[in-house]
Subunit: 234 residues, 2 copies
């Protein structure tokens, strides 16, 4: 996989920053997007402090997505709809990887929020009809991503209806040391991935842990989907 | 943990049968329930053929749950509401472990079914207000459970609002060789567990595999929840 320029919509939060650090370390050019150019540049400086050789910039979201070849969406769900609606012309037909889990943290319990489109990623696809949306990276712990010296032990589950977008997202995921990407089916499955984040956060609370997911039963060597990434039928 | 008598509501299907075999092998007395006494006895004979020393019987569902100390619900979701409603007097205040994932297999894709109560396990708790319902075992592959010579590699995520029911379910799960039980929070989280079954079935299809789940980031030795099974607050 040749290095691609990756744009982060909302790359100043821990999840976006963590992924940006890992992908910069893997040799990708990274553009951190934010609603504030100043905060974008601060985040870019953080990436550079972890990965001194990084090719990284901070920009307004719209400029960031224009520059990027693949767009990663790492904003809080509260701004998901409005932000993507505004960015649709700039994103056009690019590959969009939605990382957002729509969660409510009110009270003592974390809950998944109902999304009219089904999931955050399905909402992204509805708002960006030209784009090829995949959903991935929901279950990687932000703190672990930022601790570049830590090797992750995680499977990244990738959903999507565009085979090429899915395969490129899977290839991207596997550039993070210790990560295996798995084809988790169509974009309609993204809701189950997004909502499962609640379970991992519950485990983190109960065990004071930073949990990630592993799937047992798929040989690591054989971890390629059948028939070019499209879910096969029985 | 002293052996308990376990009753299976709908123990003739692969998931119930697989769990019954594993628990019989661990020394529990098992009562397989079914709508048909004949099919219950056939299933009991299957358990006995795998575990010759098993203390196992086949009964009508109602007789089975009267005999059992812990009731495991392993019926298809289609019959979930009516079956539990009818069994409520016989179940009374027992511990009920709901294993059901409400899924629709129509067309090319598997989907999760919406449940008015939130999840199958929450529906069970609503129908059985005296009982202490936990949700668990959704992600263990039925075929692997039945292959007693196979060691599983899986974490069983357990949800529930009754701490004692949750702890006993966790202890039960860990009697299956290779299984670690984890406290995955309140019963409201059961929906995310049930629906995640769709993802594992998609992976099974895509990779011709029998997948199970592992959680990374919790030391196996430290795999005990804080404060007696109740989710702790930060």
């Amino acid at each position: 996989m040749s290095p691609e320029k990756l744009a982060f919509v909302g790359g100043t939060g821990p999840e976006g920053l963590g992924l940006a650090i890992r992908f910069a370390a893997a040799g990708h050019a990274v553009v951190i997007g934010s609603r504030s150019a100043e905060r974008a540049q601060e985040a870019a400086a953080k990436v550079r402090s972890k990965v001194p050789r990084a090719e990284v910039d901070g920009r307004l979201n719209e400029e960031a997505v224009r520059e990027g070849e693949i767009v990663l969406v790492t904003i809080p769900f509260a701004g998901h709809r409005d932000t993507l609606k505004a960015l649709a012309p700039a994103i056009g037909a690019k590959i969009v990887v939605d990382v957002v889990s729509p969660l409510a943290f009110g009270g003592r319990q974390i809950k998944a929020l109902a999304v009219p489109e089904g999931s955050a990623a399905q909402q992204a696809q509805a708002l960006l009809p030209q784009a090829a949306v995949a959903a991935a990276f929901h279950h990687l712990d932000a703190g672990s991503l930022m601790a570049l010296e830590e090797r992750l032990e995680a499977d990244v589950l990738v959903c999507g209806d565009h085979p090429q977008a899915k395969l490129r997202t899977m290839a991207l995921a596997e550039q993070i040391a210790g990560v295996r990407a798995l084809d988790a089916g169509p974009l309609a499955n993204s809701r189950y991935l997004e909502e499962f984040t609640v379970v991992l956060l519950s485990l983190n609370k109960n065990y004071r842990a930073h949990t990630t997911l592993r799937i047992e039963g798929i040989a690591r060597a054989g971890g390629r989907p059948r028939r070019g990434g499209k879910p096969a039928q029985r």
